[in-house]
């Protein structure tokens, strides 16, 4: 079933963008048609990740009502070489655009919500895409809450850091629950020793399941080779046998069943 998935987190630097890109690539690898949108208007990142300078229009323009979503989407299918179609929509990374986006009023945000909601019809139904993935800004701010309201499922990326866990707990009760969203937790950058054996892994999962009162879809260890790669390539494409890629495949399968 066609779905909009939002990746969100309480704090920044949890790995939302890395996981969004790799989740999208995982689906494309298996023949699904995917559209990945950068909704992190404060720190746009997808342009660097996809090394593209093809953007004539940005998601900023679509949300401003100055162009159609099809003008924003860049077809990276050939570049990525997966089985499915792969489109990305970029946020304008210029300082001027970031400043402009932070100064929007409530009425603009209300219209932006309407435009995000209509992507279900224009991207999923009209363009026949299987998944629309939103990479959002961290925390409670307009752009990320708009994305959550427009999404069918929310994947919350969190670390084991106490402040992150507490903030995520609050967001579960004061945000996702209120909008009745299908939500799953992705624990990222988990210290390897916490997952060193099946018993430890199970204990870890149980502990955090209880803390968040939500299913932990995956506990992803902290991988030094991901840090070493410096975001220069997409793991799910280049390293099919890597445990990180395998973790993404399990996440993709679970989200499909949501």
């Amino acid at each position: 079933m066609r779905k909009i998935i939002a990746l969100h987190s309480y704090k920044g630097g949890t790995g939302k963008t890395l996981l969004s890109i790799n989740l999208a690539a995982t689906y494309v690898k298996t023949g699904k048609d995917v559209c990945l949108l950068d909704l992190d208007f404060r720190a746009p990142s997808l342009q660097a990740a996809f090394k593209t300078n093809d953007a004539e229009y940005w998601i900023n323009d679509y949300l401003n009502g100055t162009c159609d979503i099809r003008k924003v989407l860049i077809d990276v299918t050939q570049q990525r070489g997966g089985k499915g179609r792969f489109f990305v929509g970029l946020a304008n990374p210029t300082t001027e655009a970031i400043r402009e986006m932070t100064a929007k009023d409530r009425k603009w945000e209300m219209r932006a919500l309407g435009r995000l909601l209509s992507l279900k019809s224009s991207v999923l139904n009209d363009m026949h895409m299987d998944y629309l993935i939103f990479d959002t800004s961290p925390g409670l701010q307009y752009s990320s809450i708009n994305a959550i309201v427009a999404a069918d499922a929310v994947l919350v990326v969190t670390s084991v850091d106490t402040s992150d866990v507490r903030g995520t707990q609050r967001m579960v009760h004061e945000l996702y629950d209120l909008f009745d969203k299908k939500t799953g937790i992705l624990m990222n950058k988990v210290p390897a020793e916490a997952l060193a054996s099946p018993t430890k892994k199970e204990a870890f999962r149980r502990q955090f399941n209880n803390l968040h009162s939500l299913p932990i879809l995956e506990a992803i260890p902290c991988f030094c080779d991901i840090l070493r790669s410096g975001g220069t390539y997409i793991f799910a494409e280049e390293k099919p046998e890597h445990p990180f890629t395998k973790a993404l495949e399990r996440i993709a399968a679970q989200v499909e069943q949501f």
């Binding site: 409530r106 945000e109 919500l113 909601l117 809450i145 945000l175 909008f179």
Partner: protein, 122 residues
């Protein structure tokens, strides 16, 4: 009373359900009026506001569900909203009118049908 008894004999649960829904709607309307009265002791007819996500978060659960559904549909009748929320048409009509009363939603008539919307497209 006799008429009520006749009705009750015919379709007791249906009639009671309708009475319950009407009472619930009345209660909710009164709550809204009391709240508005508290905030505007001098009396203002309506408080026009913006139905953004922060407002959606501040609404009670039952109204939030209606408001989010209307945001998705854009322009809809109570029937169309009820179809999505799986609640009774009469209940949705009550909630939509409450949102109109609160200034978040607008209403227009086209023939016999009443349409609700957050903002006119275009």
């Amino acid at each position: 009373m006799t008429m009520y008894k006749k009705l009750q004999e015919k379709q007791p649960t249906h009639v009671l359900e309708r009475i319950r829904e009407s009472l619930e709607r009345l209660n909710e309307k009164m709550d809204v009026m009391i709240e508005i009265q508290k905030q505007n002791p001098r009396g203002v007819e309506s408080i026009p506001d913006v139905l953004d996500v922060m407002t959606l978060l501040s609404l009670p659960d039952h109204l939030r569900k209606t408001a989010v559904t209307l945001c998705r549909l854009g322009h809809a009748t109570a029937d169309q909203v009820a179809e999505q929320t799986k609640r009774a048409r009469a209940v949705e009509s009550g909630y939509l009118n409450q949102l109109v009363f609160m200034g978040y939603v607008k209403k227009e008539r086209q023939g016999r049908r009443a349409y609700f919307y957050v903002e006119k497209e275009g």
